[in-house]
Every structure is written in C-alpha cells, then in structure tokens.
Assembly symmetry: C2
C-alpha cells in the first residue's frame, strides 16, 4: 500500500514523465501544491492547457507562434533579406537571447539523421527554397548543430541552396566563451586555430 | 521582446514557482509538452486539479486523505494502540516507506517555533490528547524532526503527555542532528524507529 492517496500517486506518475523530474522532485512538487491555494493550482493547470491550445507553428518559418505568422516574421524592424536556418524552435530562442541577430529564421524541424531514418524529405526545406526565391533573400546563415547530423544537414543545404544565388555562411566553430583551451576537444581546437582572426 | 509566445512565457512563469524548477528546467518541460499529445497535457492538468480537489486531512490523525479517515487510520490490520507523532504528512510517507512501523500516526501540522511565532497552541495536540485517552493508546513514538523546533516540540509533548500514562519514546538519534525526517533514507529511518528510547 502506498502511503500517498490515489490522486497524489496519479499526479506523481504524470510529473515524473516530465524531463528532469524524478520521483523525489515530483513528491516535493506535490507537497508544495498541497500547500498553495486552489486558485494557484488552477492557474498552473490552465497555463498548461493554454499552451497546448494556442501554440502552433509559424506558417512562414515554423517557429512557435500563437498567430498565423510568428512575432519575428511579423516584426517590421527586422531585416527581411537574411534567414538563419536552425533545427528546432528552441534554437531560435537561444539565438534571440544572444541579441546579436536581427534577421529572419527558418526552422527545419529536425536534421538529416540516417540512423533514425530521417532524410532531407522529412525537413521543411521546400518552404525555405520558396522563401529564398520569392523574398529576395541575400544571406543565409546555417546554424544547425555542430554534431554529425547537423553538419550533414548543413552540407546538404549548401548543395541545394547554393544555386539560388544567396550568400551562404555557417556559424563558427570555436572554443566556448568562458571555457578552457585545455579542456577543448582536439577537433574543436583544430577548427578554432584554423579560423583564427587577426586582432 | 521575449522569443517565446505569451502563453509559453506564462506557463514558464508558473513552472518556476515549483520547488526545484528553474528557468532552464521550465523551458525544457515546455518543449517536452509541446511535443506530446493534447490528451497527455490535459491528463496532467486534470491530475493537478484532482489532487487539490480530493485531498484533505484525515479527521482523526491529520494525515493526507481522500476520505473522512485516511487509509492508515482505516486499516484494520494495523496496531491501534500505538501512535507515532510527526510534524507533517510527508513525514508519514517517509516512515511508511521504511516499512518498519505498523501502528497509527498523529500529524501535528507543524512544530513549536518561537522565532516564527508558532507555539503549542498552533499544533494539533488537543486531538492527540483525546485520542490517547479514548483509544487506550499504550505507546507513543515522537518522531518530530531532530532540529531545534522538533526537539522543543518533543520535549513539550513529553511533559504534556506523560501524565496520561502511555509509554513515550523518541526516535533514536541515527538521523543526523539538524536534518529533517522527510529527507532521511528509509534504512536510517527504520533504524531510528527500531532503536527508539523511552523518555
């Protein structure tokens, strides 16, 4: 017999499915929830449902959005002739946090991963090609991951998009800010040495 | 401008209020939720509300319950002449997990904490006295925390309950001083229950 009531056990079961939440964290969350007002818990439950109801993918760039077009595609202050190509919506968020980029995005919704049976046909590349042709895009930054799948995808995209005439660049490989040269892997270190910049 | 949509920001805001969940974990949870079915998210939201709706306190021992009396008070296979006194419902859960105790419980709903303005009057002691008198309780195990508040509470309880005639014991110091019953591992907790000393 569990020491918890049925509804608590059921909630814990649901909570441990979330990433980063183990049994102990779930128990702590339940203890916390039992202590707050019902209105508070209701607000959390509603926020959960609201996200699922309202969030969809931007019809232009596939970023997360609550409208037909996402806030970035809709923002008139952004450069409309640059597209940064990423694998997933959370990559957009990460780049936006850096604050350094002011162009548009295109989310591929994955990468070429033969081992998982994912080929170019599974990615949102067609829409990207159409955008480049129609919107007079001058520069493409390919910001897929630096792992094998991301590199394969970058290579494939370069081959397919080069004929369209836009300038294509790839985000730089190098040593992360704040990290140590000593601990960098040799592949990264080699790349960082190669693409050194004069100061 | 946040890179997230409004409803995502709102959900993240709610999630970071939960214990052990920071901004980064909340973002990971949202990404996960966006990927699962709406039914899955609805089930989580409903489990949250269900806990808040159904869980109340046992009218006998103040443990968490979905009925008038909790599962432990209601269990005919348990010894009815022993009460283990704890500070909060999660302490019951912790002791139940050790599997070594087969009597009843009494949850005080706190401890004597003068610094927080909490005195004996704020604890559920009256009900405990009534139970000891009426139910012919032979033994009391005081399993309040081993911190200052818990020890003060144990001392106070001993003074008040001793005249009622039941044997009173305190869980053994086997749990490190200053740490909480709730977070002790089951083996330590079991040992502490076993080697309780009469006071």
């Amino acid at each position: 017999m569990s020491a918890y009531t049925e509804s608590i056990e059921k909630l814990i079961e649901k909570l441990v499915k979330l990433p980063g939440i183990g049994r102990r964290s779930a128990e702590r969350i339940v203890t916390y929830l039992l202590g707050v007002s019902e209105a508070e818990v209701r607000a959390l439950a509603e926020a959960l449902l609201k996200v699922k109801e309202s969030v969809r993918f931007c019809s232009i760039c596939n970023n997360l959005s609550e409208q037909e077009a996402c806030k970035i595609c809709d923002d008139q202050r952004r450069r409309k002739d640059m597209i940064c190509v990423v694998e997933k919506p959370s990559d957009v968020t990460a780049i936006e946090k850096s604050g350094i980029y002011n162009g548009l995005y295109h989310v591929l919704m994955g990468s070429i991963a033969p081992l998982e049976g994912k080929g170019p046909g599974d990615l949102k590349i067609e829409g990207l090609v159409t955008r480049i042709k129609r919107e007079n895009i001058k520069e493409l930054i390919i910001a897929t991951d630096l792992d094998i799948e991301g590199e394969t995808t970058a290579l494939y995209l370069t081959k397919v998009l080069k004929p369209l005439g836009a300038k294509i660049s790839r985000i730089a490989v190098g040593i992360p800010m704040g990290s140590n040269v000593e601990y960098a892997d040799s592949a990264t270190l080699g790349k960082a040495m190669e693409s050194r910049r004069e100061i």
